[in-house]
Amino acid sequence: MIERFDPLKGVMLRILDDDGRAAPDLDPGLPDAALRALYERMVRTRAADGKALKLQRQGRLGTYAPSLGHEAAQVGLASAMAPDDWFFPYFRDLGAYLTLGYPLADYYHFWMGNEAGLRTPDGLNIFPIAIPVGSQVPQAVGAGMAMKFRKLGAAVVTTFGDGATSEGDFHEGLNYAGVYKTPNVFVCLNNQFAISVPRARQTAAPTLAQKALAYGFPGVQVDGNDVLAVFAAVREALATARGGGGPTLIEAFTYRMGDHTTSDDAARYRDRTEVKAWGRKDPITRFRLYLAHKGLWDEAYEKSVQAAAADEIEKAVAEAEGRPPASVDDVFAYTFAKMPPDLEAQLAALKATIPEGRR
């Protein structure tokens, strides 16, 4: 399917139209339960994201990068993954985290300012988020090389934004992936802005997807607000990767409906009419219409989905806020496998200055 959408011809993979009607020849044909799961994951993501923003404004959570508008891309890509695949995220991946089973309480815990929240639970193959832009790309490729070397038969998905495609690490990583034909799926969430810098200032190329062609593997632009399109593209790319067919670059064309982070004010640099226009392409609304056409959505279902999300979120916030801050020992303990005497001395000296109850 991917080869039918050549980025050089300016065609984008899209399955759902604005009214939620699926193109019959492209519909991945998921069973009803799987379709509802996609919807429920997107709703949970939006609710959990909104809660994080509220917590930030109340001073209960630190600087936060909101996911509003990215739900279809995040949920679609993660829903296509298998448990033995690996995920190398960037920093705006809430929907992917939740879909892959990362505890929401841990996610909040990290953004509240605790490293413990970044400790992926055992059994989940999720690398920690990457804040230096694009630096996760070569790491994901190394994981792909290891997967191939160890003949694990799984694949690696990594995410990044449109700004990351200007970084050297993007080029180096994709170049490696092409040379070694690694089982990597690169998903660029092109949300049109790198903080304030618009997509047109990142590259003169008409699409980001076409960059893959120069590295010797396929690239495809998909409608990033169409959960079925993202799901179908990533599923196919993963199958190719697992089968030894090498990497794929998927450009999920979307829009950052919120600010870059809670420290940003997007009104300073972008046009309200543009934001409004993208608001009409909302990924959740579009998929809700699709479910309604299929008889899979009604008000009662919506209420139960929203209630379940709200309940889960309240529990996660309570759990995250109920955790004690890291101890002084913990802050030092993970610098080396075994603490050197120097660091032991620094730890003891610091401890001596801190009252007993606050260590």
Binding site: T120, S135, P138, V141, A337
Partner: protein, 324 residues
Amino acid sequence: MIMTMVQAINQALAGEMARDDRIIVFGEDVGRDGGVFRATDGLFDRFGPERVVDTPLAESAAIGAALGMAALGLRPVPEIQFMGFIYPAFNQIVSHVARMRNRTRGRFTAPLTIRTPYGAGVKALEHHSESTEALFCHIPGLTVVVPSNPYDAKGLLIASIRSDDPVLFLEPTRLYRAEKQEVPEEPYEVPLRRAAVVREGRDVTIVAWGAMIPVARAAAAAAESEGISAEIIDLRTLSPMDRESILASVRKTGRALVLHEAPKTGGLGAEIAATIGESALLSLNAPVLRVTAPDITVPLPKREDLYYPNEDRALAAVRKLMEY
């Protein structure tokens, strides 16, 4: 067997690769060519192209990929062809490799050994002679190792590869073939984080590492003929530093000289001098002196001799210490 440092490094790599099939060696020209200094000579034929991997010219990707490999259970040993080319990978080393254990509270670690030739004195091209070890010693979580002889090179490299922490293993190009030494065939570890007293003395302590050890030895021999007894500490692991060995020696001699071929300002000499000042001030009979490269860009080969400390400059400092 009598061998050079580069042969000892090659033997360490071969032995460890034979022992542990999770070890992957990769970098520019490390495969068929055996490395520009021949450190990986023969490994490609013995272990195959899947474990001895020629890479595209991309240092950041090499170190980033090493971290990703480690996440999936491999023990990568990437080579950066010269230390002067490591800077594109600085972000990967500083922002990810060094802190992976901490930021994931131990779920992910970075058991990789980054090998790279470094230092002046071989009449190389521009960007092939710098000693920027201090940049890396400043980074918490990173272990920085420099051998000064073939025996240590083999044992320290084996210990580095077996370490669960990331190690930057700096190989002094000037010493690659400078001397031959008896090196055991079988694998052995020289412990990390431990300095060695390579010459015992009573009057003055010279702290040095890598290619400065032969300079320190020459200065100590010359001082001996003047009746001055110099002790030499080979730091071997620069970070985390074995401060106790330095302090024990200085408490005995009462005088200390730090010898390094890196520029003076912000160099490790300052850290060592401060350590002595903090913990052995009352043992001192003289201020701690530093003989280092000046704070200039390394000159091209015609005047490279001006740059790195030599026996005469070290000896002059030793005499000065004795004058107090």
